[in-house]
Amino acid sequence: MTEIKRESPVQFKVSPLKVEARDNWTVALEYDEEGQGPWLVDLAHKTRWDLQDRKVGELTPCDLAVPEAPGECTFADNTLINRMNRTQASIFHLGAEAPGLPDFSGYTDVTESTVFLALFGPKAFFIAEKLTALDFLDPAKKAPFLYQGPFCHVPCQIVTLEKAADGSGGFLLTCSRGYGDSMVHAILEAGSALGLRPAGENRFNTWIQGLQG
């Protein structure tokens, strides 16, 4: 069998300090001088599914319930389920390994067709507010929650996992694969004054484990 190589749509200008080959992806685990945050992490290798069904609210992907209302999210066991609309939900597997795609026609694996980034740490939302009009710090919203809207003028799904009034916390962002390089360029440019640095998966794992207790 021919060995395949899976490429992230995102390239940082700095080379990672530690990498790992995983499921034909080259995963950056750590970068030199990651700093004290905020951080931007490329998560293109994390498995993502799209789920569509007339009765999507009654399905239980990975034994988790699909949230009832659009914009709501379920986050448990490293799996994030985001209700998008009446008939659609997105599922992000944030752990090291993901289960196989269920044998049901409503699922589509969108891992290789989308960009997947995490922006988190101190002042993360001060960077976001330079790039979008979406209000992540809305007191009426309780994390995790999903926004579907423009970020750098690009239609995105954005899941806020943690937020605090001082602008710290973090979110996950997905958009079409073709926007990858422009998106990273714009985010790093907007975050340069606030110390935003590319970081590896280890940094992201620490944050996620902290959120799940």
Binding site: P70, G71, M84, N85, R86, A133, Y147, Q148, G149, P150, H153, P155
Partner: protein, 86 residues
């Protein structure tokens, strides 16, 4: 602030996130006995109301939903459903 619209899924958002889908002309005409002229009128003719009209919009940069809402074309503002049509 320019036009804002209320998406049934995402809530009130900037008008630039939406795509205009034309006036709401009601259901598609029944095909039995439909003349080309009547079909042409349905497809191409608009009322171009100067005031409050019902319109189709798509949340293009958000959830992608198509929905109808009411807009005052003289002020370019989304308005509540007029009393007469409730």
């Amino acid at each position: 602030m320019a036009l804002t619209l209320t998406c049934p899924v995402c809530g009130k958002r900037n008008g630039y996130e939406f795509r205009y889908g034309g006036e709401d002309k009601g259901p598609r005409p029944v095909e039995a006995g439909l003349t080309p002229a009547a079909w042409c009128d349905y497809v191409h003719m608009n009322k171009c109301t100067a005031g409050v009209q019902k319109e189709w919009w798509c949340h293009r940069d958000g959830c992608g939903s198509w929905f109808t809402t009411w807009r005052d074309t003289t002020q370019n503002l989304e308005v509540a459903k007029p009393e007469a049509s409730k």
